[in-house]
């Protein structure tokens, strides 16, 4: 790999384009770590938010009105307030109460900033997922479930075998969109000093004064990450596609 790094060093000498993340070992290392942190953050949040979405959608079908209301207000709170302010609220606000005494008797936060970022972003995306899953379920007409029940399926069986597969296919495009937004939202963790890609890049360009280069690298990386996610989800969508369900694009 050394020749590749050398090429970038030459590029700097010849044209002034300063991509230290390639030819400088230290910067290379920290940028790679930042990239990994971003991917980690995105992956954990995706899994957690989908889980929250499933649980929330299930709770919304509960007979207890209080439970349904609780889910409703959870959704409304997280949807109608800025995710950044939610992050501050949790990290600075709630976090200021959750202190334990660490070594030396100094108060230390119980929950790290990375954990707060994961929790806050997961609950944020989870709120949207609850709505998405719920809408998918409601878009399956009652007539289909009735037909299943008439064939002798139990309620649970009909849900599992008939409704959920259809509901899932219906809501997949919206879910994909939400997951893409989640990946983009990981940049918010910058505000609480989580060492993800944007934060690390900020460090690098402050040290090396190569703002345009780092900006471009950042944009390419994020567009690339999102592109990979969209591609993967698109392939999955195609693989489980059933004719008649889903967007029919007509280009004119």
């Amino acid at each position: 790999m050394q020749p590749v790094w050398n090429w970038f060093a030459e590029l700097h000498d010849r044209t002034g384009i300063n991509l230290t993340i390639f030819y400088d070992a230290f910067d290379r290392h920290r940028f790679a770590e930042g990239f990994v942190t971003t991917v980690e953050l995105a992956a954990v949040c995706i899994v957690l938010s989908v889980a929250i979405g499933v649980i929330g959608a299930w709770l919304q079908g509960s007979r207890l009105r209080l439970l349904r209301l609780a889910v409703y207000w959870y959704i409304q709170f997280f949807r109608n307030t800025p995710p950044l302010v939610q992050l501050y609220f949790f990290y600075f606000g709630v976090g200021s109460f959750l202190k334990i005494s660490g070594p030396g008797g100094l108060a230390q936060p119980l929950v790290s900033n990375m954990t707060w970022a994961i929790l806050s972003l997961s609950f944020y995306a989870g709120a949207f997922n609850v709505e998405i899953f719920r809408s998918g379920i409601e878009a399956v007409p009652r007539a289909t479930i009735e037909a299943a029940e008439a064939l002798g399926y139990s309620r649970l069986g009909a849900d599992r075998q008939i409704m959920l597969p259809l509901a899932f296919r219906i809501c997949l495009p919206a879910l994909n969109n939400n997951l893409v937004n989640l990946v983009k939202a990981t940049t918010l963790a910058y505000a609480i000093s989580v060492p993800e890609m944007l934060w690390v890049s900020n460090q690098i360009w402050s040290d090396e004064l190569n703002v345009p280069e780092m900006m471009s690298v950042l944009l390419i990386c994020y567009v690339g990450l999102v592109g990979v996610l969209v591609f993967a989800m698109g392939r999955w969508e195609k693989a489980i596609r059933v004719p008649g369900i889903g967007l029919t694009a007509r280009t004119r």
């Binding site: 409601e138 878009a139 900006m215 567009v223």
Partner: protein
């Protein structure tokens, strides 16, 4: 009227999400009224806002209980800082208005560019749209703050570009891309039978687009466009990260001036409340619009 695909329709856009949903081909009626698990939104009124305020005051009270009687109460402090913070909040709303207007204007043209018959223009429009849709808003903001010049000379006069103008421009870029997708989605959701019958009547393509297709699109575009605005209004706080003096920066200043850790929760909760009070009605309106337009069909 137009041929329905029956119940096998994609996700109906009657969900009131301020999330960037793909624009649905055709909203369906009937299927989602079959199962109603959500409490009817119509029944929930401002009475619940009372509970939010109560919860807030309670948290302020709890936090206040941790301090001694020496400092002024939390509520009093909140009230003291309100004029300043509210001014900042209005500034956020102003930024959101400018970014929305600029982004929408550019986005309409970009969206039309995605459906012209000339392939190179379509390709360029597609690239631009997807680039700005896939880039995180914060990164675009950083990009604009650093890369845009601090002043620009036009027609001989030098116009300074303050930070907030650059931030507005940075926010308008993703708005433009999303509006383009909304426009494109709306145009493609008009049944092709409309194109066919207009062609049979010997209209030219641009006549069909401007006189027949686009007027029908406006209604369809309104709910996702309003959703987009809600998202934008909330994302104006990102400008605080890049140094623009808006409500979050001012809140940080106020907290720094007061230097009391028990104020953190109430202050951020207060700002959350303001955004909630602004965005929740928008979300409700959006649902109401959607229901009305769905019924029209």
């Amino acid at each position: 009227m137009s041929r329905r695909l029956g119940w096998l329709e994609p996700l109906p856009q009657t969900s009131d999400l301020p999330v960037l949903l793909p624009v649905v081909e055709r909203p369906i009626s009937g299927a989602n009224t079959d199962r109603k698990f959500c409490p009817s939104l119509a029944r929930l009124r401002g009475g619940y806002g009372f509970w939010i305020v109560a919860a807030l005051l309670l948290s302020a009270g709890v936090a206040g209980a941790e301090t001694g009687p020496v400092h002024p109460s939390i509520v009093a402090t909140l009230i003291k800082w309100t004029p300043l913070l509210f001014g900042g909040f209005l500034f956020n709303l102003a930024i959101s208005a400018f970014a929305m207007i600029g982004g929408t204007a550019a986005g309409v043209f970009l969206g039309l560019g995605e459906i012209v018959q000339f392939a190179p223009v379509r390709a360029v429009a597609w690239l631009v749209t997807h680039f700005f849709r896939n880039a995180p808003w914060l990164v675009l903001l950083f990009f604009c703050m650093y890369m845009l010049p601090f002043q620009v000379t036009v027609f001989g006069t030098t116009v300074p570009l303050p930070d907030w103008v650059k931030a507005t421009f940075g926010l308008a870029l993703p708005v433009m891309a999303n509006v383009a997708e909304i426009v494109r989605g709306a145009v493609q959701s008009i049944p092709s039978s409309q194109w066919e019958s207009a062609e049979a009547l010997a209209f030219t393509r641009s006549q069909i687009l401007w006189m027949i297709i686009l007027p029908q699109c406006v209604k369809r575009m309104l709910p996702p466009w309003m959703n987009l605005y809600a998202i934008l209004a909330m994302d104006t706080v990102l400008a605080s990260i890049v140094g623009v003096n808006e409500v979050m920066t001012l809140t940080g200043d106020a907290l720094g001036a007061e230097s009391r850790p028990e104020l953190l929760l109430p202050f951020y909760g207060y700002i959350l409340l303001w955004f909630f009070l602004y965005c929740y009605p928008i979300a409700r309106w959006t649902i109401r619009f959607e229901r009305r337009f769905a019924v029209d069909r």
